[in-house]
Structures are given as structure tokens and as C-alpha cells.
């Protein structure tokens, strides 16, 4: 019963902070609400007994990626936009309708398959521990794991190269 209340609480936090992310006027506010969203999603992962991914979610997303976002927002010094709610136009209405269509389709897909899902046993939920993940990671998935290192190195070098300031004429 407690897990149900926790789920409702975390889901409310996640949805509310997601809405606040896309609606807030300043980019920094958006970023901080996104951090709240990530943290509540990590709580949902804990409810699903995926401890490792919950910790990784906070470390990688709330720790690393959002700091990157905040640094970029600081570098760009964008002004406060006009509130999204004040610039309602045809484009926004169409966007909202498209979003509703996407939501309806997803919920229809979820609702259509609920009775075919299997019942849950206690043993089924014990796969999210660090032992289970690490066991797979260093045996079956060791090659993708090493390739991830190469990918991250390439991404860092590429990001440095793209964001570098060029002083040569013509390239600016």
C-alpha cells in the first residue's frame, strides 16, 4: 500500500516538474525543474527495484548532464522569454493537438495490452541489483561496454572541436 502512495507522489512530482520545465520562462528554471523530474524518476526506478539505474540516473543526469546544461545557459546569457502562455498562436494549438494525439495513441496501446501481461512473482523483480547488472555487463556486454568508452571519448573531443572558438578569418 505504501508503494502505491509513493508511486502517486513521485508520479505527480514527475509530471508537474515536466510541465514546469516546458512552461517556465527562464531557461535556468527549466533546467532546475528538469533536475526535480530526474530525481523523481530515480525514485520511480527504486520502486521498480532497479537500484543501480536509480543511482546512475541521479549521478549521470542530475549530476553531469544538468551541470552541463546550466553551464551552457550561463555562457549563452539568454534573456527571459515572454511567457509561453501569452503567445498562444495557431502553431501552439496545432502542437497541443498533436501532443494529445500522441498521448491518446500511447495510452490506447498500453490499455489494449494490459490483459496479456503476465502476473508478477517476487523472483521476477530481483534483476535490478548491482550484482545482476554487473554480472551481465562484464560478461555478455563487455564489448559494448568498452565501445561506450570510445564513444564518450569521441563525443568529448567532438564537442570540444565544435564549441572551440575559431580566430581565423572567414570561419569566425
Amino acid at each position: 500500500m505504501l508503494t502505491t502512495y509513493l508511486f502517486i507522489l513521485l508520479a505527480t512530482f514527475a509530471v508537474a516538474s515536466a510541465v514546469a520545465t516546458i512552461l517556465s520562462r527562464h531557461a535556468v528554471t527549466s533546467a532546475l525543474f528538469l533536475v526535480l523530474n530526474m530525481v523523481s524518476l530515480a525514485g520511480v526506478y527504486l520502486l521498480l527495484k532497479a537500484q543501480y539505474l536509480a543511482v546512475i540516473q541521479i549521478l549521470v543526469y542530475a549530476g553531469a548532464i544538468m551541470v552541463l546544461f546550466l553551464f551552457v545557459i550561463m555562457l549563452l546569457n539568454t534573456d527571459k522569454e515572454e511567457s509561453v502562455l501569452k503567445q498562444i498562436s495557431l502553431k501552439m494549438v496545432v502542437s497541443f493537438l498533436l501532443g494529445t494525439a500522441v498521448l491518446a495513441q500511447l495510452l490506447f496501446a498500453v490499455a489494449g495490452w494490459t490483459d496479456t501481461l503476465p502476473m508478477i512473482s517476487a523472483a521476477m523483480t530481483e534483476v535490478g541489483t548491482v550484482e545482476a547488472i554487473g554480472d551481465q555487463l562484464f560478461t555478455r556486454y563487455v564489448l559494448p561496454f568498452e565501445l561506450t568508452g570510445i564513444l564518450l571519448t569521441a563525443a568529448v573531443i567532438g564537442a570540444l572541436l565544435i564549441a572551440q572558438h575559431h580566430n581565423k578569418k572567414g570561419t569566425s
Binding site: 516546458i22 502542437s95 497541443f96 501532443g99 523483480t125 555487463l137 561506450t148
Partner: protein, 100 residues
């Protein structure tokens, strides 16, 4: 234990909010954050399926997706900085160099 459709419903709602965010915002950084929201929603449904079916491979996929998302965020933000340097704006309605 809460049943699987609740988690999938939450994932669907978050994904939709991300979609609407990409469509209605003009600030490139906030659009990028909305893309991260959508990525997270998909990760949530993967973890939910993985936990309910007792299959660890879904969580492995989420792990690799997180790594790719980190790389993607680094490169994407670098691109946004480069665009800002050329246009002095991250408003996507003003970035129309390739517009016909």
C-alpha cells in the same frame, strides 16, 4: 507492487509532455531539455518492462542509452554554443540560414 500499466501510463504522459515541449518552445536549450524528457520517459518504460518480466537485458539497454544520452548532450550543447556564436541567438525562429 503496482501493476505495469501505471508505469507505462506515466511514461506515456512524460513522453507527450516532452513532445509538446519540443513543438511549442523556441529556445533551443529548452527544446533540448524536452528531448531529454522524452528519452527519460522511454527509459522508464524499458525499466518497468524489465522489472516486471524479470529480464535484466532491458536495464542493460537503459544503461547504454544513458551513456549515449550523455554523449548526445555534450555534442548537442556544443552545437548550440556554435550556433549562438554565429547568430548571437538560440531562438530557433531566427536560425534560418538553410531555410528555403
Amino acid at each position: 507492487m503496482i501493476s505495469l500499466p501505471w508505469f507505462l501510463g506515466l511514461s506515456a504522459v512524460l513522453f507527450t509532455i516532452g513532445t509538446i515541449g519540443v513543438l511549442i518552445r523556441r529556445n533551443a536549450v529548452v527544446m533540448f531539455m524536452s528531448v531529454e524528457l522524452m528519452l527519460n520517459a522511454v527509459n522508464l518504460s524499458l525499466v518497468a518492462f524489465s522489472a516486471h518480466f524479470g529480464d535484466v537485458h532491458g536495464q542493460m539497454l537503459v544503461f547504454f542509452a544513458l551513456c549515449v544520452a550523455a554523449a548526445e548532450a555534450a555534442v548537442g550543447l556544443a552545437i548550440i554554443i556554435a550556433i549562438f556564436r554565429n547568430n548571437l541567438s538560440v531562438d530557433i525562429t531566427k536560425i534560418n540560414l538553410l531555410r528555403w
